[in-house]
Amino acid sequence: MFGKGLMTGMGITIRHFFGRKATFCYPEEKLTMTEHFRGGHLTIDYKKCIACQLCAIQCPNQAIKLKVVTDANRKRHLESYVHSMGRCLYCDLCIEGCAPHALSWDKNYEISTWHKEDLVHQVITDEDRAYLADVMARAAANPTPPPAPKAPPKPAAKPATPSPETEVKPGE
């Protein structure tokens, strides 16, 4: 019968009309993101960071720009850390490359901006800068002495067993 398929289809539509809703009211209700959710702004645990720059090396698209300073104790610290979200692929390679697990996402999914310039995100906060100034000042007050000049390289030690080509057997 022509129209039978149409009626079956309408039946499904009507059943769903009275059924459970598949949607929810977004701005009022918000979803919680999963544990490994990739998205939002990068955050850094400043005290954990060892300024090894592996995150910037791992990045396939050079989205991370950072500056490193060395204090009087010859320890490295981050001076600035800029995450260009417009270039970011959100591939997670930087976070997986971070040996001390200092980097993480803040799981905020509402990151759209009005202007392109706002996509450049300063990861280091004022608090971190104050901490850096404090550390630098303390290191400057109590500097470690410069390393002792290296001893001249020792002459290469003779090989313990001469190679078979040069070996001369006694009595020959």
Binding site: G5, F37, G39
Partner: protein, 365 residues
């Protein structure tokens, strides 16, 4: 005596039914199509060159952007090619997880196909139902890798991280729902007379034509040739699972739809078997962090959701590939558009295009 002449119509690049930015140059005689020429390149990003400028491991997230509704399959194809080149042995558990992800993504991709085909035929309700069910798969992926698109989960040497403990249960719950929602699509769309009349007998291709155009994937299976690389090559752990390759008979749009529709059930079967047989063990192979494959070249092919997805990689022994070429199934399947449109009406060109199921991200690469 009035004279008539043919008329050139540009469909696209900004056209709602071209799934992205494709321009089709239609030569018309009244309402009949005499010739249809796809004009591509509007979404070209140079992914092959981008891959050549990055290390092997850094290239994986770029393959996500090829066919962005089935990223897992692209990751899989690229990683297999690099592993073959570098001689990396992938742990068994990782292979199983890869197959689960690739098949789940195949289901999601075919749901997009069914939804967009219904939408192109004017039945926008159909799209809502398929996208509602696709959400469940995306939620599973979100749980596993933290992203709903562009997953970057399958890595060179294995997978990014092990499955979370609640995954198996949630995945089984989804698989139990597969017969339910496929029945719903069948009742909603397949029984519909308008839907059938728009698809049956339209854009017919013979097996010879499909072979001449080098079509692969569901498009060639719809013409009756059971060519599925999962069966033909038996790569990864696919030979351990029992599944069938659905084939069509007439090679028309209806068969293209049917083949994909039946593949959803088959993919669900594979996922269930893989979940049952999931072995314990590591999920990542051991290989040096700065991967430098030996000099040589490799062509590795896998069955993507749209056909044969091949990666040709040439290594010169350094950390970056010397040359990458991607055989994108959508791009090659697009050639058949001309044969599929010739002699049919303008409205059928939209359906023909939708039935090939190309994705412009992959066509233009």
């Amino acid at each position: 005596m009035p004279q008539t002449e043919t008329y050139i119509l540009n469909m696209g690049p900004q056209h709602p039914s071209t799934h992205g930015v494709l321009r089709v140059n239609l030569e018309l005689d009244g309402e009949r199509i005499l010739r249809a020429t796809p004009m591509m390149g509007y979404l070209h990003r140079g992914i092959e060159k981008l891959l050549e400028a990055r290390t092997y491991v850094q290239g994986v997230p770029y393959t996500d952007r090829l066919d962005y509704v089935s990223s897992m399959n692209n990751n899989f194809g690229y990683c297999r090619a690099v592993e073959e080149l570098a001689g990396i042995e992938v742990p068994e558990r990782a292979e199983y997880i890869r197959v689960i992800m690739a098949e789940l993504n195949r289901i999601a991709s075919h749901q997009v196909f069914i939804g967009s085909l219904a939408n192109d035929l004017g039945a926008s309700t159909g799209m809502l139902y398929t996208f509602r069910d696709r959400e469940e798969i995306l939620d599973l992926f979100d749980l596993v890798c933290g992203a709903r698109m562009t997953f970057h989960y399958i890595r060179v040497g294995g997978v990014a991280r092990d499955l979370p403990p609640e995954f198996a249960e949630k995945c089984r719950k989804f698989l139990d729902r597969v017969p339910e929602f496929t029945a719903e699509y069948a009742n909603l769309l397949m029984g519909n007379e308008i839907f059938q009349r728009r698809l049956k007998g339209v854009s017919r291709l013979t097996p010879e034509q499909a072979l001449a155009h080098n079509m692969t994937g569901p498009n060639i299976r719809a013409t009756g040739i059971p060519f599925d690389i999962r069966k033909v090559d038996g790569y990864s752990v696919y030979p351990r699972f029992g599944f069938e390759v659905p084939v069509g008979e007439n090679g028309d749009n209806w068969d293209r739809f049917q083949v994909r529709f039946r593949e959803i059930t088959e993919s669900a079967r594979i996922v269930r078997q893989a979940l049952d047989g999931l072995p314990e063990g590591p999920v990542m192979a051991k290989f040096p962090k700065m991967l430098k494959p030996p000099q040589g070249e490799v062509f590795s092919r896998t069955e993507g959701t749209r056909g044969e997805l091949g990666f040709y990689i040439v290594s010169d022994g350094t950390a970056k590939p010397y040359r990458v070429h991607i055989r994108r199934p959508s791009f090659i399947n697009m050639q058949a558009l001309d044969d599929m449109c010739r002699g049919y009406l303008i409205g059928d060109s939209v359906v023909a295009f939708s039935a090939i199921d190309p994705l412009m991200g992959e066509v233009d690469c």
